[in-house]
């Protein structure tokens, strides 16, 4: 009796820790990783005297990267934290990239060739202010090139060799420095800025020791607005407070003088506010009024003269100097399907250095930014290339009228992701194709066989790997049996929608949504969320699936909503509505109409509910289910959660049958002095639970409480919302709730004393796992709560089941008093966490794994069995057989269980899981600045052969066996005959 027990234990132990790791040659087989940098803010070229031409860029995702100017690949890249925004970059000494970040308080130097950090300086100051980085080209202090940084109200001089602060000069309070200027050959740094609203200040500072040599100021009664733009080393242009007058300021030895010019005199009939663009050109500045850019030349004695007006939303580059003291700059105009790049000489306006028209994909939108760089052509003339940032955040290099390379850097700022099926494969494949495929197939398998039998040489091994990686199967545009091939529909911050193929991560189509572009009524549209609009199956198979994109005109909640429906096969916008109301909340209803369009309720700021799609059929469905539609709203700032139902039709001025009044049903008010909501979490609405019953050891059964209307809420003490370490454990606590969102009942409530956020939670089936910080233990913890239904607990009697006296089939009502029990347990966890997700499979049979996005931007898997409240220190034999792991005080982190293996998903923001058709397998997509996709089998692939299963070897074995059978049969026959003859 002990042997089977022993064997069982052995068996259990051997499979208790499923090996998720992969072999080296499996990397890239079913996963892909894409690196991005985000929308470029600033670019600095390094092309002179460098073997590898490169451009260093800083982006809105706080990335600093060095890109190959020939191909657009990333040489190196660093992602600074979300709290460490890059202000400015520049290059010093020709070999260091200098970055100024965190509002002028951190200065770093990176080695240009390999991106290693050379030094780092923290610059403290007295008050928050604008930040400026200024690296004069020919200024040496004690044989040291100096970097000047203005930040936090101080001017710092920093050595470019080791980052040492040479001197520090406090700028008088109230003075806001806007520009730092250095005149060639002198040792004086000029700083100009404003003091208050109407004082113009010019400071002269000794570059050697930071001594303030001169402080001049003059008041301008009209006041200033916007930025100071320098026209020459001693004259500046700025607009006045009303944006109607341009002020030319000249700082001479005799003091500061102002000269005013009305903008209307320069640009007649120009509505809108004028903005002076910073071009840093000598003698010329650009004025932008709406889409019209006017170049104005400053002639002697402060006279202004318009040299050219260009329209069509032009972008203007900074000045670049080429040859001796010559300056050039570029501007780009948006055409219908082209962009026009013009490079002009800074002094000689009459002719162009370059004028090119470049074909541009409409889906990239308009040009946002342009940076230019010069190079020497083969015929010794000067050529120019331009780095262009488009509306969809993509980055292009244009040279000789062509796009040399482009990067889809919009994908670095993913807002939301959903998946879509691919079209079903059409029948009728040509015979030739099959034959060729068969030959290829056989050849591939023979190669693989050689590989398995260790007969292959290096070339063949490389060939095998190539075949495996480039299997045409995985990047087909049709559905497969296993459901591995899908489309990932990705919404980016630029309002562009991408469809990525899960096989190889390529962009299948992309669409810059027109309704998410800047227009008159909607001046700052933001994309918010994606919803599944139509998932056709059964009777509506010939329809294409589509997604609903939700957006809003502006940041505030009461701004008008924008809705757009996009076909996921073709990538075309089917319909778009600029909703006439705000959208605070979207509730996907569990109903679909006859074309499988999902019904949604949009809740506006006035608590009206609007039904979409606006069809009679949808309306009749809602009328039928009128009493059964409930939702809740969380007022996190206020600490109130409310439940709502539909009431009746709206009585607006315009009668609208699709608009409903709502009424409150319940409310939960958390005491504001002791609790603040920091996290809420619900289950995924499309989650599948295979069975409600959970079999236990001793032939017992418990029932999971699988209500979909559960909300997990985590509250902390109001003082504890800041960073960890500011509070003592006594002042801090974490209270978590499980709330039924139909009736507003609190089903479970528990307090963790001495704990604080940030809380990351994941909710699935009947359990919730959450991660927080324990101040007493100085460690992160993870807790699990499982909730079980007691009202069904007495359905254990077989006779009851036979006689039908059970309540398993009776409908569940939320209004019945819930009889639930909860079990919970807490463990230490070493890592801090960015996000948590859980695997999901098609039928919910496969055991679950948690996917933890760690602070190091990797994705770690953790078996749910480690977070099982039934774990004990010494599980009984029966419990061990059931798969309960002995309790430990902390959760194990196994290096093999990183699904991202050696890769990093820089700036990890979220993890999305989607079930494949194959029950064992789940698709995982992690996004941040990078994108990573893989598929994984939480309980191993029990329902299919692995991809590298050698069919040829199987075939060979069978053939060999057959031959052996025949041979032995023949031999035995002969022997028998010989025996008989004897």
């Amino acid at each position: 009796m002990a042997i089977p027990g022993f064997l069982l234990v052995l068996l259990f132990l051997s499979c208790s820790l499923p090996a998720l790791s992969l072999y080296e040659d499996q990397v890239g087989l079913m996963d892909w990783h894409q690196k991005y940098i985000g929308k470029v803010k600033q670019a600095v070229f390094q092309t002179q005297k460098a073997g590898r031409k490169r451009v260093v860029v800083s982006t809105e995702e706080n990335v600093i990267a060095s890109l190959d100017l020939r191909r657009g690949e990333i040489f190196w890249r660093h992602v600074l934290g979300a709290t460490d925004a890059i202000d400015e970059i520049d290059i010093a000494l020709g070999k260091y990239v200098i970055t100024l970040s965190s509002e002028g308080s951190t200065l770093r130097a990176w080695n240009l060739p390999d991106g290693q950090m050379v030094w780092e300086s923290f610059l403290s100051g007295s008050r928050p202010s604008k930040s400026l980085l200024f690296i004069p080209t020919n200024l040496k202090v004690d044989k040291d090139n100096v970097i000047f940084v203005y930040g936090n109200g101080c001017l710092h001089a920093v050595s470019s060799i080791d980052g040492e602060v040479l001197w520090k000069e406090f700028i008088a309070k109230g003075v806001e420095v806007q520009e730092l200027i250095h005149q060639l050959g002198s040792h004086i740094i000029y700083a100009v800025g404003f003091d208050g609203l109407s004082q113009f200040v010019a400071l002269q500072i000794n570059a050697k020791n930071g001594e303030l040599l001169k402080h001049e100021s003059a008041a301008f009664p009209g006041g200033f607005a916007g930025k100071i733009s320098s026209v020459s080393s001693d004259s500046f242009v700025v607009s006045d407070a009303t944006h109607s007058v341009l002020v030319l300021v000249s700082v001479k030895d005799g003091g500061i003088s102002f000269q005013q010019t009305r903008i209307l005199d320069l640009v007649p009939d120009s509505p809108g506010t004028a903005v002076v663009l910073p071009t840093k050109l000598t003698g010329i500045f650009a004025l932008k009024i709406n889409d019209l850019v006017t170049f104005v030349k400053v002639i002697d004695e402060g006279k202004l003269e318009v040299v050219e007006k260009i329209d069509n939303g032009a972008a203007v580059s900074g000045a670049v100097s080429f040859s001796e003291g010559q300056e050039a700059f570029a501007f780009v105009q948006n055409g219908e399907s082209k962009i026009h790049l013009t490079v002009k000489h800074g002094l000689d306006w009459s002719n162009n250095l370059l004028k090119e028209s470049i074909e541009m994909d409409r889906q990239r939108g308009v040009v946002h930014k342009v940076f230019i760089n010069n190079y020497l052509r083969t015929d010794r003339t000067y050529g120019f290339r331009a780095l262009i940032v488009m509306e969809d955040h993509s980055l292009l290099l244009v040279q000789q009228g062509e796009i040399v390379w482009s990067r889809e850097d919009g994908l670095a700022s993913v807002i939301d992701v959903t998946t879509s099926e691919l079209p079903i494969e059409k029948h009728g494949v040509s015979v030739a194709k099959v034959e060729q495929n068969l030959f290829e197939w056989l050849k591939g398998h023979m190669l693989k066989l050689k590989g398995t039998l260790l007969l292959a040489n290096l070339d063949e091994l490389a060939e095998i790997q190539r075949i495996r990686l480039q299997s045409s199967e995985k990047s087909k545009m049709t559905r497969d049996h296993n459901g591995f091939r899908k489309l990932l529909i990705v919404l980016t911050r630029a309002g562009k929608l991408f469809a990525l193929h899960t096989g190889d991560g390529r962009v299948v189509w992309s669409l810059l949504l027109d309704s998410f572009r800047k227009t008159g009524q909607c001046n700052s549209p933001v994309g918010l969320k994606l919803y599944q609009w139509q998932i056709p199956h059964h009777h509506a198979l010939d329809e294409n699936p589509s997604v609903l994109v939700l957006g809003r005109c502006g940041r505030s909640l009461d701004a008008n909503g924008v809705l757009s429906v996009v076909d996921t096969y073709t990538g075309k916008e089917i319909s778009s509505v600029g909703a006439a109301h705000s959208i605070v909340q979207v509730i996907p209803l569990p109903f679909t109409d006859s074309t499988e369009q999902r019904l949604h309720l949009l809740i506006d700021a006035d608590q009206h509910a609007h039904l979409i799609p606006r069809t009679h059929e949808a309306l009749s469905i809602v009328q039928r289910e009128f009493g059964n539609i409930y939702w809740y709203s969380v007022e996190a700032d206020n600490g109130i959660i409310r439940g709502h139902v539909l009431k009746d039709n709206c009585d607006l001025e315009v009668s609208d049958g699709y608009c409903f009044n709502t009424r409150g049903l319940w409310s939960i008010v958390f005491p504001s002095e002791s609790e603040k909501i920091i996290a809420t979490m619900t289950k995924k609405s499309n989650e599948v639970v295979h069975t409600q019953a959970k079999a236990m050891s001793e032939h017992d059964v418990i029932y999971k409480y699988v209500s979909k209307n559960l909300l997990f809420v985590a509250n902390v003490a109001p003082k504890a919302i800041d960073e960890i370490g500011l509070l003592t454990p006594e002042e801090s606590w974490l209270v978590v709730y499980l709330i039924d969102t139909v009736t507003g009942r609190i089903l479970h409530r528990v307090t963790h004393h001495g704990s604080q956020g940030p809380v990351h939670a994941v909710f699935s089936e009947n359990w919730v796992v959450y991660h927080y910080f324990n101040l007493k233990a100085h460690r992160y913890e993870m807790s699990v709560i499982e909730i079980y239904d007691q009202s069904r607990a007495d359905n254990k009697d077989v006779w009851k089941l036979v006689l039908g006296k059970h309540n398993l089939t009776s409908p569940i009502s939320s209004y019945s008093r819930p009889e639930v029990v909860t079990k919970s347990q807490t463990y230490f966890f070493t890592h801090s966490v960015k996000t948590i997700a859980v695997t999901s499979t098609a039928k919910g049979i496969t055991s679950k794994q948690l996917l933890i996005g760690t602070i190091s931007d990797q994705v770690l898997t953790l078996d749910k069995r480690f977070l099982d409240p039934r774990r004990t220190v010494n599980p009984t034999q029966a419990e061990k057989e059931e798969g309960i792991i002995p309790l430990t005080d902390s959760l194990p982190i196994m290096p093999q269980s990183y699904v991202t293996h050696t890769l990093k998903v820089e700036g990890l923001k979220g993890i999305v899981t989607s079930p494949a058709k194959l029950e064992s397998t789940t698709l995982i997509f992690a996004y941040g600045v990078d994108l990573f996709f893989t598929r994984m089998a939480p309980s191993k692939t029990y329902d299919s052969l692995t991809e590298d299963f050698s069919y040829a070897l199987l075939l060979l074995t069978i053939v060999a066996l057959l031959v052996a059978i025949v041979a032995t049969w023949f031999l035995s026959e002969r022997k028998e005959l010989q025996d008989k003859w004897r």
Partner: protein
Amino acid sequence: MRTTRSHSFVLCLALLFFRSASAFQSDELLAEDEEFGLEGGRSPPNLDLTLSSSRSVPFSQPTRRRSSDPDSDSKIQFPLEHAFGESDFFPAGTFTARLKTWSHGGQTLTKLRFSREALTETEKEKFKMLLEGDDFYKIRVPSNVLSPPGRDYIISSVKARCLPQDRLDEHFVIHMEGVNILAVNYGSPGPCPYPRQLKLPAKWSFNSYTVLKNSEQAPRTPAFAEEILGGESGEGEAVMPPERSFWAKYWMYLIPLGLVVMNAVTQAMNMPEEQATGQPGSHTQQTTVAAVPRGQSAAVRRR
């Protein structure tokens, strides 16, 4: 190891209080009022000094406390109001409780009692309407019992058809945090099966059950060092599996070994001239013995 969870339930003193519906306030409460007297009372935050039995809002004040006692008690009342469907809220009853002030400054409610007022004729009519329309019966309580209504009212609703049994059965679970009410789980004490049948109560009076709930403490993270130290003496028996005899542990290896040895011996006796036949037997013995510690260590490591 988490056997002492029940201590938190002592705090959530669940006082089931059942009263037949009547329009008057309980005599018993008034008697208690007199018992403590009004000496040295702290002025309540809300200075409306109307006393409990009046139907007007606000109802509540801590009326008295014994100043000498650090953990002093005082009586407190707060109203329950109800609404029929979309109607306004009307007073429907009074909760009475003891406000306990702890020495560390915290305040909790204990000994919750509830008295409901009888339904008037119009209210009965309204309730019937609710039953017919399968509409919501709503109740609300203040979110702060010391200064009602606090930040907002706590509202809870139930489909009216869930309540009628023999009488109107209702069940309150009031979730408290100090003197704040977070939420009220309100509904029928039993199940309310979904196709809700229209059923009128035999008697138009309420059967009320009330439970007061405070937050539970989370079980502490298992501290293993302590457990092992403490557990050695008391739980040593349970931790260590009972030592079995050598035979009981290794019989499955010993029997084959014996067989092999016997086999070897018989073979050796049959062919005493061939010494080599003993060799395989001893060889097997070695490997079998070697397998035991290996198997064990593997098991230990996995654990």
